[in-house]
């Protein structure tokens, strides 16, 4: 009786292990680890599945924010750091002290879209108006040509590259009001604005869809064309940082935006080609 049980258990065990090891056949030992920006995330994920499909190299993507991406690269726990802003001085220094040499690679161009609920009659704002809303000087939509309703200001967390870009491109020296609400990703801001009639937020161009309305800034709408030629005032570059000049698989991956397939993926996701 006891032997029967042992046999059964061994069988179960073998079946379990068989099930578990049946993961997809991948190229021996080759893998790429990407970490960082939630803005670059959709692009990184699209590139990842394309790259795995065409080369068999396993690629994993985490979306934890630009700041975390930089930290991961500095701690050598990722091969490529997705970032929606350039690395800061202190990060570069930290990298140097860890023997990491961060190299900047541009993947795409992005326009930072200022978004509101589609029910909001406001069609556009000037850069100054956006700044005044975020500093707390303007607190009601009626002050900028909208309905009589208090503005719900939404920003990103401190770890976000999008937040840093926003500060640099819009806020300048001024500080974001303490009343601003914080959301942890582009997607979270989008769904918060889509469900809140009086909210204002900012997301990367690829996150703009019908559920929200992107405002014109200084009279220019955020579109592929206006971002590409630089007439949309709140535009920026999206990066993938590598440790040292990319080689091998990392290089092939980084060079995807220069290939026809990569360019098409960038367009389909909703970003703007740099090359």
């Amino acid at each position: 009786m006891k032997k029967m049980n042992m046999l059964k258990m061994a069988l179960y065990g073998a079946a379990m292990i068989g099930l578990m090891t049946s993961g997809e056949a991948l190229a021996e030992g080759k893998k790429l680890v990407l970490d960082g920006s939630t803005t670059v995330g959709p692009l990184a994920k699209a590139f990842a599945s394309y790259y795995t499909k065409t080369t068999g190299v396993e690629v994993t993507v985490s979306e934890s924010g630009s700041g975390n991406g930089a930290k991961s690269l500095i701690n050598k726990t990722c091969d490529i750091a997705d970032m929606s802003r350039a690395m800061k001085e202190n990060e570069l220094e930290a990298a140097k002290s860890q023997g990491v040499n961060p190299v900047q690679n541009v993947v795409a161009l992005d326009g930072l879209a200022i978004i509101v609920h589609p029910s909001n009659r406001v069609k556009g704002l000037t850069k100054e108006q956006v700044r005044d809303i975020y500093t707390g000087k303007v607190t009601n939509w009626s002050q900028v040509g909208g309905p009589k309703a208090p503005i719900v200001v939404i920003q990103r967390e401190s770890n976000s590259g999008t937040q840093d870009s926003f500060k640099e491109l819009i806020m300048g020296e001024e500080k974001v009001s303490e009343k601003a609400e914080t959301q942890a990703s582009n997607g979270a801001i989008k769904s918060r604005v889509a469900s809140t009639p009086n909210a204002v937020g900012f997301v990367g161009l690829a996150f703009v869809n019908r559920s929200i309305k992107a405002l014109a800034v200084n009279g220019v709408k955020p579109e592929v064309r206006t971002v590409k030629d630089g007439t949309y005032p709140v535009h920026r570059k999206l990066f993938m940082y590598t440790n040292g000049q990319p080689t091998g698989d990392v290089k092939k991956f980084i060079d995807l935006p220069k290939t026809p397939a990569g360019k098409r993926m960038i367009t389909e996701i909703g970003f703007v080609n740099n090359y």
Binding site: P42, A46, V61, S119, R121, S185
Partner: protein
Amino acid sequence: MNLGTRKLLDRSFTALGVGSIVIMGMMLLVVLMPILSNGITANVFRGTIEHRKLLYNEFRRGDHAELQRQIAESDAARRKAYAMMAAFEAEMKLMSEEKHAGYQEKYDQVKSAMKALLGPVPGEELPELTRFKYGQTRWSKAEERLHELLYEKQWDYSNPDVEAKEYDVSRAASFQGTSLVKLFPYVESNIDRMLLPEWTVYWGFITDSSIDSHMFGGIWPEIQGTIFLAVGAMLFAFPLGVIAAVYFTEYAREGFFNSLLRSANSTLAGVPSIVFGLFGLAFFINTLKVSESKSVLAGSLTLAIMILPTIIRSAEEAILSVPKTYREASLSLGSSKWNTIVTVILPAALPGILTGGVISLGRAAGETAPIIFTAAVSVGSAIGLADVFSSPTPALSWNIYNLASEHEAASEIRHVQYGMVLALVTIVLMLNLSAIILRARISKKLKG
């Protein structure tokens, strides 16, 4: 107190007890029913021809001949619609420039609505991303898309004092007088023939990998990652926890140091899980460097530390509840202390120890915070057993969060999110169930 009052009190207490159990049951129902009813839509739904095309192209699943027949059937219905579009494009070229420009934007919207509904227009270059290569795979989504094709959503901003209201404008009306006006009633009445919806049971949702970051396909990598992480955490935490409990109950002398250790253990049980997550990142990955990147190993170790206090506590209680007479009998027969622990006390305490283990296992499977920085990724393929020491993995708990908030098309793929929730709840339930059965068996053996 007279007998009447006592009976009354007794009855009211019973009623209170029954009432609270009923309320609990209803709460469970309220929580579980939506999980079940929404979750099942990931597996069972009205799938369109696009779903069957996708299954065949990506997984080589389905009857090829039958699929070809259906594609031919749907294409026949679609061809007319595309012909109408081509006719209108030709008509636009003949218009005056002003008129052309006026229609162009509206027509572009119609075209993209058609693409969203039926997939790429034949003759145009095939998109790179899988999500744009197919039309709507689910009938419920297709109906939404059809509405978007037929009506344009507009907002009434006329009254500045009230919030703008949404209203639908028929697209057909805005193409009045052109050849395109026929397209809308045609698509509306022939949508069934274009998409051929039929009830589909897609078990592949559980066993397939995801395609194009969860837009299509299944959640097997997530399920597997969850199992790996939970089992891995148990492998570390269970032996350690039991050994620690044996030390606390059998070897440690009651004293200041011992009570300090105990209270430290209790405190640890109450520490928020995100703290363990950050600790895991700082200690296992950055200091010990157990792996080069996030990995299942690092995640398991972090989860193990998180569930360790619970396991120690429950094992301790279980060991303490073993009757003293067992111990005395064993020792009086000349057995050593160690021998008594291994052969008498631990087997007798095993059911209780297992209960604690299982509760912890469920918690390890469901926790998100500890694995954010140590193991979880939003996209990755299923890993083999050999990769657990070096590779990160997707996991249900984290990917549910990711799909709920971060994913760029979160609102499009709610069914995947619901399916993941159902899978996670089922896994935890199954783990609990198997442990209850195991426990019952062991108890029976011990008694018999």
